[in-house]
Symmetry: C2
Subunit: 698 residues, 2 copies
């Protein structure tokens, strides 16, 4: 595999700039790590004041370091970062890890330095990890440029984390449990190398079977989307987002200066690209480890075998909650189980072998459950007890793991008596959990990934171009206003072929009557005035007018009412619109996300919007599948789909509106928000119509 | 404290029936435990074949055991249980722990034996814990009748668990972390002593500050409710329910033969009685420990101080998700923080002191945050790093814990480097978590308990008695039918003063017209026929008839249609009802729960019921607060409360219907289900009216 990032993991020679003789310094720890884990390349401490550090010859300057040297690790102060980078560039080294902090994360001054370093690095064609990071590890080559104590055993998981502390914490958490990793990459401020770059690199490395990401904010949302969509076809990506809500986002932004996109946009982007989202650090590794060590569940039927009914009950709750179920054990297998188990044992699922269980009991029950065609997943659970050989049981589970082709997850509910057993299980790629309720979320994640593998190739929807003439008209009407109401919004929707309810703008009662005669009674009046955003609240809407007489009276009293109540509003006129027939009211809209771009939205519309909060999102560009699933996941989608005997709605017309609106959003980056509410959806073949709309421009 | 359960925890003398000389037997383990943890009473192994066991003189029979002996622990086979119990009874011992299994959990035969033992015990006035349990522990007296290895340190938590294995697992999980317990009680099949009995006992023991319960099924729901309501006023009860859903309930029932009530009923009963529900074993102890060791949060503003921004971001997400927020640190305190911290540190919340933090940094930041009036909760977080003195940091946190009156929760995100620090923190009653996201759910639970302490005394609502005459009429109409439709249901509702829409039963078009003239047009027709449950689906409803002509035509064609389409239905007649004015449609009903009794329900009614699933439950008898909160927690409640400028609805009339319906349910245990849908609620002062109703009787 050739990549500009390769030397971060398998450089021929590494120089440490600022390597200290003082064991209390981080740079000393880095040198030690480079010498400890079997890295085969040359390791060159650079320190003008030292001769030898940790037995390695030290060099006065980088120029003195012998060839080959492909990676520089910088632990020097930010004050001399520019000359250091220049020195590295001149020495012809193309890969740099900047451990040093004091850049963007400290504010504008630091950001300015970071920008200069970035430009300098670019001029030398260098790739930079950091600054403000703890470096990277390749478990197999032993190239470890971090100061973190210890390395996990070699295994399937590549871990990408913006936060170095999280890398350190994760290693502290998992190192005793023998979960296996391929790489660890801490990226810090991501001046150059981003999570997306790292994702691309790990996608191509055969040692990586699963990619786990801890992320505070992705800088390159649309690129992440296209790449993640490709990678997830062959390797699962498990993703933990920090800064989901206001409090978290504030914590993130004061931390690495990331500008966090909305969490709704992240959720949508991840779902659309087949990335599996988790909600805690613990789940991140539980799921990544299961995906990296076990086959995907072929079905949703789980067989449990246990010495503790209570623990099995907790697991069963968790399975059900996560969409899995208890397998029905066949009578033949139940009879087989009965042959050797305790006569008081329960042989239907969960198989309860009672407290004082033996390793042989587990071997017997699991071998037989493995033979049951109705079982997709094996989940043995043990609660350690005085007379139970916990280690023996763990070994029995490992033995089953070697034989079975089914998914095997296990639970040892303990801490005092389970450490060695846990290590044996993980070392043999049998995931083991401390709590019986942890298996459910893992299986759910594995199932999600199975669905990702089964789904169709992404193909962006085909949409129709805007009518150029109509677009010009709309732009002229909008001028340089930022908040635009229904009148101008209609013009833009028109240009993109989105059907508006018939109507037009009248500036007098006479014009209003003329319009109404043209479109037909009954009609609706809506005030058009700058400074009035919520027409309804301002009393600016009159419904259901059946004649020119009614219309004239309503027109005049509407204008009078607005003049009286909304003294600061600048009245433009009144929209005269056809009173629309009843149908299902939905909301369709867009909010531009800072990370991912146009975030399309759909949900139940009309007056219930704020009550039921029935909204789904998808990031544009959209596939047909994106649009369909966005609609199907809402209550509105169920209402449209022949709810309680009503006719099926015109889904095609609705999908078309969403598609055209996504094109409008992609082609007009100045539009920050669009809302069509309500869009009325009629029965199949009868189309849709936008009743009201508004937009916000930047 | 005097209680018939006291001897389980502080008996003067314990006899072990079936104490074995074989160290591989459970009974040997029990004897060892009784001798190991400082229990001061006499310990008497009973075994006719041994002279001494573990240095204790063994007795040939219980009759030989010297006085005083107040507790018998039975580890003998189920085959000789009756004579053993008789022997205990004759010896005058009033408290028995039956460890032995092989009873109800094995099916009808075992259940019969259990029943005999229960009757025998009752005839001697004995209290029995078990059978099929692992016994009990009192950490302070050292009376430990279990065979579980080790005892946790003395502390505030009493743990009640039906499942013995869960007790063993929990001790294995927490014993190394130094979380403190007062008692552990495993109850097994609960032949006699139930969770409710144990709850009552622990409520009165001053050593108990918090009660943690793992429950599969409570046998005495209504008693639990009254007791838990009292206990929760002075001691928090934390509750984990196993068998929440079908899979879990199945696992539970095959386990201890518990008949599980519906989970919705548990959730309601717990909420109503001030019991705090958790969803995992881990949360059970995290929350119990915090409640037992820390003051309740006085407000919702949390200050974090950390060496890892990423960990703080995860914690911030969890806080927000659980209803807490980041405190705004005052400028004065920020300036103070700045004085001694790393110049690159972030001094707004979360206070980020960067990787290489010192114990002094934590002392400084926490002391200052403690002085900030805007801070209610302190949450220091440390991710262990190469150069950080983790133990020193833990000691700094303990020091703060001794000074502060605020809630102090802590996080050490690690495993390899944190064990000793964790022990020091817990030994000093400072809760510590492994993951930063664990503090949120704990704070939420503490806040819930704070609200429990603040709420009003339970007072059952006053309701009006049924009209006896109307009740007789209704009963006569119902006869011995089990599924009753609107016609008879109306009569029962009438009897309890619940307003039905005006109307009556017509058996001919003439009768229909006469009725319609009486109640006034427009009217609605609804078929009344045995065998038709869903009138609407069967085409059995005609709306909005304005004249006798329309009515006659509709009546005849309705009868004809039903005769043709529903050949098996037995037509009784047609309900003629006033076409009701529009209002908010809600559903009010009752489902009788096997554990708790009448489970009242309320939610959005009409055709949207199945779509929005907006339902809340409360167990009757109800307080005013129960009714108000049940309504307020639904979307329907918001719709009634002046949603988008609509008039406020007649809440009093609605509350009255719910109250009367609860009385109807309490007075008629034969009614299994009631549903009024829709009940139309009109604006304040204009009442409510039941449009349709049905019931199911047992």
């Amino acid at each position: 595999m050739q990549s500009s990032l390769s030397p971060f993991f398998n450089a021929k020679g590494v120089a440490i700039l600022g390597a200290s003789t003082n064991p209390k310094k981080l740079s000393h720890g880095i040198l030690e790590n480079l010498l400890t884990f079997g890295y085969k390349g040359g390791v060159y401490p650079v320190n003008p004041k030292a001769d030898f550090i940790l037995g390695q010859k030290a060099y006065a300057s980088l120029a003195d370091v012998p060839d080959p040297v492909e990676l520089a690790v910088v632990v020097l102060p930010v004050t001399i970062i520019m000359e250091t980078m220049r020195e590295i560039g001149e020495r012809g080294i193309k890969n740099v890890v900047i451990i040093t902090g004091g850049f963007k994360e400290l504010g504008p001054e630091g950001a300015a330095i970071e920008k200069s370093v970035k430009d300098l690095a670019a001029s030398y064609g260098m790739r930079v990890v950091g600054p403000n990071c703890v470096g990277t590890m390749d478990i197999r080559t032993g190239l470890n440029s971090t100061f973190i104590k210890g390395m996990p055993p070699a295994g399937p998981i590549a871990f990408i984390s913006q936060s170095g502390a999280i890398c350190g914490g994760v290693i502290d958490l998992i190192i005793n449990s023998k979960i296996g990793f391929s790489h660890i990459a801490s990226l810090g401020n991501m001046m150059d190398v981003t999570e997306t770059d790292m994702l691309e690199y790990f996608a191509q490395d055969d040692n990586v079977r699963v990619i786990a990401m801890y992320t505070e904010g992705i800088p390159d949302g649309q690129r992440f989307i296209s790449l993640a969509r490709e990678v997830s076809k062959t390797k699962p990506i498990v993703f933990l987002k920090a800064g989901k809500n206001d409090a978290g986002a504030k914590a993130v932004s004061s931390h690495t200066g990331s500008l966090a996109g909305s969490y709704a946009a992240y959720q949508s982007a991840l779902k659309q690209t087949g990335v599996i989202e988790v909600s805690t650090i613990n789940e991140l590794f539980n799921l990544a480890w299961a995906l990296g060590s076990q086959p995907l569940p072929r079905g949703k039927c789980v067989a449990m075998t246990t010495n503790a009914g209570g623990a099995a009950a907790l697991a069963a709750d968790s399975l059900d909650f996560n969409g899995f179920e208890l397998a029905k054990i066949s009578p033949a297998i139940q009879a087989r189980l009965r042959e050797k188990l305790n006569p008081s044992a329960q042989v239907s699922n969960p198989v309860d072998m009672l407290g004082s269980v033996s390793p042989e009991d587990y071997l017997w029950s699991l071998s037989n459950l493995d033979n049951d065609e109705g079982v997709d997943v094996l989940l043995p659970i043990l609660v350690p007890q005085a007379l139970v050989d916990t280690l023996g049981v763990a070994k029995a589970w490992v033995e089953i793991g070697k034989k079975t082709e089914k998914t095997l997850l296990t639970c040892l509910m303990g801490e005092r008596s389970t450490k060695e057993s846990e290590q044996i299980l993980n070392s043999n790629r049998v995931p083991v959990y401390t709590f019986p309720d942890q298996a459910g979320p893992v299986l759910k994640g594995m199932w999600e990934y199975k669905k990702v593998l089964e789904r169709e190739e992404f193909e962006a929807i085909t949409t129709q171009p805007a009518c150029e003439l109509a677009l010009e008209t709309a732009k002229a009407a909008i001028g340089d206003r930022k908040v635009i109401g229904e009148y101008e919004s209609r013009l833009l929707l028109d240009a993109y072929g989105i059907p508006n309810v018939s109507g037009g703008l009248a500036r007098s009662a006479d014009e209003a009557v003329a319009l109404a005669e043209e479109i037909g009674y009954p009609v609706v009046l809506k005030i058009v005035a700058e400074g009035i955003l919520h027409k309804s609240d301002a009393g600016g809407i009159v419904l259901n007018l059946h004649s020119s007489e009614e219309l004239r009276v309503a027109y005049d009293s509407l204008i009078e009412r607005i003049k009286m109540n909304e003294t600061s509003a600048k009245i433009v006129g009144v929209m005269i619109e056809k009173m629309a027939d009843k149908g299902v009211e939905v909301i369709v809209g867009m909010r531009r996300d800072v990370t991912f771009g146009p975030l399309m939205m759909f949900g139940m519309g009309g007056t219930m919007v704020e009550l039921v909060k029935d909204i789904q999102f998808r990031v544009a560009p959209l596939s047909n599948e994106d649009i369909k699933s966005m609609v199907a996941e809402t209550m509105a989608g169920k209402l449209l789909n022949g709810y309680r005997g009503a006719p099926i709605s015109d889904f095609d017309a609705l999908y078309d509106v969403i598609g055209q609106l996504s094109r409008l959003s992609l082609e007009h980056p100045e539009i920050q928000e669009i809302e069509i509410n309500p869009l009325i959806v009629y029965p199949e073949g009868q189309g849709v119509v936008a009743i009201d709309s508004r937009m916000i421009l930047s």
